[in-house]
C-alpha cells in the first residue's frame, strides 16, 4: 500500500474513535502490540535523544526497502512509534523522504508535534528520515 493510503486508513480508524480517552486507549493498545526491537538495538547507540521518554529505533534495508523497529519505555510514545512504523516500513527511501505527514494533525495528535511535549514524535520522524537519507546515499554509492 502507498504511504498516502496508509495515512488515509489511519485517519479513518481514528475518525471512528470518540474523545481523547478512546484515542489514548487505541494508542496504548498499539503500544502494547508493537513488536519489540531486538535487544541488541536497545542501547544508547539507537536511542533518540531529546525525549522525556526513551525511544530506540533501528532500520534495516532489504531489497531497496526500509524496515523499522522501535521501542519506548512510555506506552503512549510506543503507540505513536507503532503508527509511524506502519506508515514508513516497507517503503523505499525516496517514498519515505517525499511524504507529507498531514495525518498527524487529522488524527488530533498535533499537540505531540510541539517541542515542549518532548515526547519524541518530532525526533522520531527526523530519525526515521535520517535512516532513509543514509540508505539512499549508500545505494547511490554502490
Amino acid at each position: 500500500m502507498e504511504i498516502i493510503d496508509i495515512q488515509k486508513e489511519i485517519v479513518e480508524e481514528f475518525a471512528g474513535l470518540g474523545e481523547w480517552m478512546e484515542r489514548y486507549n487505541y494508542l496504548i493498545d498499539l503500544g502494547k502490540s508493537l513488536p519489540l526491537i531486538d535487544q541488541a538495538y536497545r542501547n544508547d547507540e539507537y536511542l533518540i535523544r531529546g525525549c522525556q521518554s526513551r525511544v530506540w529505533l533501528n532500520a534495516d534495508l532489504r531489497e531497496g526497502k526500509i524496515y523499522y523497529t522501535a521501542d519506548s519505555d512510555a506506552i503512549i510514545t510506543k503507540g505513536i512509534a507503532s503508527l509511524m512504523i506502519r506508515i514508513f516500513t516497507g517503503h523505499t527511501p525516496d517514498e519515505i523522504l517525499n511524504t507529507d505527514l498531514g495525518f498527524i494533525e487529522e488524527i488530533g495528535l498535533k499537540e505531540h508535534l510541539s517541542p515542549t511535549r518532548s515526547n519524541g514524535l518530532v525526533s522520531m520522524i527526523n530519525q526515521m528520515r535520517y535512516y532513509a537519507m543514509a540508505y539512499k546515499a549508500k545505494q547511490q554509492n554502490l
Binding site: Y24, S53, I75, I76, N119
Partner: protein
C-alpha cells in the same frame, strides 16, 4: 483549614478560573512556576502605562518616581527575608542568575587550583552547573553530600567532606523534587565551624518556609520572583555585606560603575556594583507587590495551610498502592514526586493533563538525583497557597484512571 480565606485567595488569581479540555484547571505545577495575583498583574500594568522611565539615570519627574519605587521594592525584599540592610539585596534575573553571579565572582576573587566546593545530591542543575563551570576554570573540584533513601541529607557525611581546601558550600533550602526541607540553620553552623561560607538556594524555600537570613546566618540566599507569585525574569541575591564587598563584579556596564576612563574603571558601591545595565525594575516592583500580598494574608497562615494540604495529600496519595513516593522526609514541603508502578511518568502526566490536572514529569533538572534513585524521572505535583483538598482529590482520581487505562 476553616480560617484560611481560600475562596477569596483563588479569586485573587484570575488564571485559576478556567477550563482545560472542558475540566476546571487544577494547577499543581507550582514548583515550576506560580500563578500571579491580580494585584501584581495590575501593578505591572500600571507601571507600564503610567510610570515607566529609566531608574537611577534621568532627572525627570517620572524617573525619580520609578527610582523611588524600585528602591522601595528593595526594602520590601529586605524586610521579607529579614536582611539588615537594603544594600544586601541585589536584583538579578532569577535564582540561576544569582547563583551564576556568586559562582563566577567567587571563582575570580577566591578560588585556586585544588580548592573544593561542597554541594549536595539533591541540587537543581542551577546549583550544580555554575559551580562545575567555575571549578573547571579554576582547577577546583566539587564534593557531594549524599542523601538517605528518605531524601534527607546525610549530615555526618557532610561533616566529613570538609578539608582545609573547602572554600564554599552551596545547598538547597527545600528540594524541588523530594520536598525535603533541609535543616539549613544546622547546615550553616557546620559550614561556619569550618570557616567556610555558604549559599542557600531558596528557589523552593522562600515561598514555603519562613526565611530570616540574619537568623539563618547564611552568607548568600537566592531565589526567583516567578516562583513566589512575582513576575518572571526577576530574582534576588542576598549576601552578607562583607562578602558582597569582597567579591569582584560579575558583569560590566552602566550603573555598576563609579568612574570610567579608557585606562581604568572604578566600581559603584553596593548594591549597584552587581546590577550592570538597565535592570528589570518593573519586575522588581512587581515582585515587591507579590511579597506585600503574601504579607497581607500572613505568612504564618499560608505556611500552616500548606502544611495541612501536604498532610492531606500525603494521606490521600498513600491510598494508591501502585504509587511509589520519592521523598518521604519527616520535614517536607507540599511537593510530591512519584512513579506509578510500571507506568512511565510521561504517560501518567499526559493522561492526567486531559483531566485538567497540570503536573510536571521528567527529571526536574535534577539528573544526578534521578541517578541516585536509579529512575528515569518522576511525576511531580507541587502545591501552594491557592490549591485545595478538592484538587488533591482530583489528582488522586485522575491517577486511578491512569492505572485503569494502562491495565
Amino acid at each position: 483549614m476553616n480560617d484560611f480565606p481560600i475562596e477569596q485567595i483563588r479569586k485573587d488569581f484570575p488564571i485559576l478560573d478556567q477550563l482545560v479540555y472542558g475540566k476546571p484547571l487544577a494547577y499543581l505545577d507550582n514548583g515550576a512556576t506560580t500563578q500571579k495575583p491580580l494585584r501584581m498583574i495590575e501593578a505591572v500594568n500600571r507601571l507600564h502605562r503610567e510610570q515607566n522611565a529609566s531608574v537611577h539615570r534621568s532627572v525627570s519627574f517620572l524617573s525619580d518616581k520609578i527610582t523611588q519605587a524600585y528602591e522601595e521594592a528593595r526594602t520590601t525584599v529586605q524586610k521579607f527575608i529579614g536582611a539588615s540592610k537594603s544594600l544586601q539585596i541585589i536584583f538579578t534575573s532569577g535564582t540561576t542568575g544569582s547563583i551564576n553571579l556568586v559562582a563566577f565572582s567567587f571563582g575570580e576573587g577566591i578560588l585556586e587550583p585544588g580548592d573544593e566546593i561542597i554541594i549536595s545530591t539533591m541540587e537543581h542543575h542551577s546549583n550544580i552547573v555554575p559551580w562545575q563551570m567555575v571549578c573547571e576554570r579554576h582547577g577546583a573540584r566539587l564534593r557531594i553530600i549524599p542523601i538517605t533513601d528518605e531524601g534527607d541529607l546525610d549530615l555526618d557525611a557532610y561533616q566529613n567532606l570538609f578539608s582545609d581546601r573547602t572554600r564554599m558550600v552551596a545547598v538547597t533550602h527545600v528540594s524541588n523534587v523530594l520536598g525535603t526541607i533541609n535543616p539549613v540553620k544546622e547546615i550553616v553552623q557546620i559550614a561556619h565551624s569550618h570557616r567556610v561560607p555558604i549559599l542557600l538556594d531558596g528557589a523552593q524555600g522562600v515561598q514555603h518556609e519562613p526565611v530570616n537570613v540574619v537568623d539563618l546566618d547564611c552568607d548568600f540566599y537566592v531565589f526567583s520572583g516567578h516562583k513566589i507569585y512575582g513576575p518572571t525574569g526577576i530574582g534576588i541575591l542576598y549576601g552578607k555585606e562583607e562578602w558582597l564587598e569582597r567579591l569582584p563584579p560579575y558583569q560590566g556596564g552602566g550603573d555598576m560603575i563609579d568612574r570610567v576612563t579608557f585606562e581604568k574603571t572604578t566600581y559603584n558601591g553596593l548594591p549597584f556594583k552587581f546590577e550592570a545595565g538597565t535592570t528589570n525594575f518593573i519586575g522588581a516592583i512587581g515582585l515587591a507587590e507579590s511579597l506585600n500580598y503574601l504579607t497581607g494574608i500572613g505568612l504564618d497562615k499560608i505556611i500552616r495551610y500548606e502544611h495541612e494540604l501536604r498532610d492531606y495529600a500525603t494521606q490521600k496519595l498513600s491510598g494508591i498502592k501502585q504509587l511509589r513516593m520519592y521523598g518521604t522526609s519527616a520535614e517536607k514541603a507540599a511537593i510530591f514526586s512519584f512513579v506509578l508502578e510500571g507506568i512511565h511518568p510521561f504517560d501518567t502526566g499526559m493522561i492526567i493533563d486531559k483531566f485538567g490536572v497540570a503536573v510536571r514529569t521528567g527529571t526536574h533538572c535534577t539528573m544526578p538525583l534521578m541517578q541516585r534513585f536509579g529512575i528515569e524521572g518522576t511525576v511531580r505535583a507541587s502545591l501552594c497557597l491557592y490549591n485545595t483538598t478538592d484538587e488533591i482529590d482530583r489528582l488522586h482520581d485522575a491517577l486511578n484512571s491512569v492505572i485503569d487505562l494502562m491495565a
